[in-house]
Assembly symmetry: C2
Homo-oligomer: 331 residues x 2
């Protein structure tokens, strides 16, 4: 069972396992992607996962059998549990609540040996459409305030299974990092009556040095202030607050630029571990004009150390101008 | 050459290498502590480092020769450079300045095969006194606003050299994470007219479940909201804003509890990689009553993944109550 706890100084939240703690001997100091004799995400092994929530599958096939191309399942080891209520409470200084939420896995392909960069544009499009439909579905649960979609690729980026998959966590709290972006964007809007991300896109396209690629509806660039070497962001060019509102045409464009970006990263950096996350506005947030959804892709090329943990300040050994040049030239 | 850059949305700062970028082929995807034929931090190899800034050494020995027990040197590959002025400026949306700062290494022992947990209390005391004297010295430079002291132990915690050492970075900016703590502590003080850390210490000592150890002047506990499994904080029991004000007696007490904590972590978790950082008030900050310096120690037992990067929310598999119990029982 997990508990949500809030730091009384910084307001940071954690999800902590209180009933079945991981013990000193359980930690693997040299993390590896698990090599299982049978992969629960492969076609034919549907019985090894919890029952599927949703799938893109052939019309004549039944749930939890082969015939799917994208499959959404509950995480077998969820960080948060679906049942129950938050039951917010305090002990002295401290605030906590029950670990209520939903943790899902989106298996991106039935084939074990293809990673996200290998998927066709159509296959990736189907994955993105599932991100959207799950976001819309989970918004109906009044307990949830945020849906975070993310992907871990490679053991040192936190992937525990090799078979290509993304994850989705529905949270009863708007995460701190999103709140910071919302606040910063709102401050900028108040001052200038413009969206800071729209201004950023305009400046990046005008400047050009940090742009990796663009298509009609999206742009990929290395941000001016990247925490990590070769960090790359993908943004819709037109102002759009919520990822969940993406239309079918834009989803196709997003699939195209995401595939292109992943292939460039894979080629230039020799298939590095990476994480990506989608930052979007909180659930049921009315039409405020000051936020702009986007995807942040962070290759895992070095270990974060004491300086970063202590300061929130990042040391990046590769300028985004140089990183974008490397990624751009890889055609 | 490095540049400081500020993210226009979140206010996050980075230090980015703009003149000599690390190239795609330069990244080691499986980081290891460098195995050098000759260790620049060993006694006898003083000529392999930049000239020493300070040292604890026998009276009859000269700088940059053997005879020292703690040695402070400039970092050979500094994240920030000592020369020049900040020259704050903007390009469109973006803010930047020159990468001015100071980056020092504190070599904790002349012997290669002893790590910090192996040092005697007296040796550790000397290290802490050097943290103090360097903090006091760097405060004189009007360009600097913060001194961050930290340690990386083990390759996956970011240590590039095996020989036991700490680092110190003088920054022209108060780091975001410290600002968050200052702000949170200040809000609490405004509401209650008490220091949030003092209240936390009182509650932890009263409760006892998360306490690892204590002595007359310090307490070590696993915080109620730990980001990482077995995260442990050390705080002076009496209210004290600045680490630099630590007196000789307290430095001795700190050496004792730090050694005790490091030994427990080493034994229980089988010498894990770890980081620690000292959070103290900014330089030249007048006697505000609402901040309380402390040391945060974070074992590196797992990789931070997309969820954490995207949310600032941490998933911790081990409750601090259980972690403290394991550490406490290891006597």
């Amino acid at each position: 069972m997990s508990q949500l706890r809030r730091d009384p100084v910084t307001g940071r939240w954690i999800i902590v396992n209180i009933s079945d703690p991981k013990k000193p001997g359980d930690f693997d100091l040299e993390p590896q992607v698990k090599k299982l004799s049978s992969c629960p995400f492969c076609s034919g092994n549907e019985g090894e996962t919890p029952p599927e929530i949703d799938a893109v599958r052939a019309a004549d096939t039944r749930p939890d059998t082969p015939g799917w191309s994208v499959r959404v399942i509950p995480n077998k080891f969820p960080a948060l549990t679906t049942e129950g209520n938050l039951d917010k409470r305090g002990i002295g200084l401290y605030d906590m609540s029950n670990g209520v939420g939903q943790h899902e896995v989106i298996v991106e392909t039935p084939e074990h040996n293809r990673d996200m960069a290998d998927l066709t544009r159509e296959e990736l499009n189907n994955v993105i459409l599932k991100y959207r439909s799950r976001s819309l579905e989970l918004e109906k649960d009044e307990r949830f305030r945020y849906v975070l979609i993310f992907k871990n690729h490679g053991a040192s980026a936190g992937a525990s299974l090799e078979h290509s998959h993304s994850q989705l966590v529905a949270l009863p709290i708007v995460p701190k990092r999103v709140k910071e972006e919302l606040k910063g964007a709102s401050n900028y809007f108040e001052y200038r009556e413009r969206c800071v991300f729209c201004d950023m896109i305009a400046q990046e396209l005008e400047d050009g040095r940090r742009v990796v690629s663009e298509n009609e509806e999206f742009v990929a660039f290395c941000p001016f202030v990247p925490r990590f070497a070769f960090e790359t962001w993908i943004l819709p060019k037109a102002h759009e607050q919520n990822f969940k509102s993406i239309d079918d045409k834009k989803a196709g464009s997003m699939a195209a630029i995401l595939k292109d970006t992943l292939m460039r990263i894979k080629k230039v950096l020799r298939d590095p571990p990476y994480n990506f996350i989608i930052h979007t506005a909180p659930l049921r947030d009315g039409g405020s004009d000051d936020y702009h959804w986007h995807l942040e892709l962070m290759p895992k090329l070095a270990n974060v150390a004491g300086f970063e943990w202590g300061s929130g300040f990042y040391i990046n050994p590769t300028s985004p101008e140089f990183a974008a040049k490397c990624l751009r030239e890889e055609d």
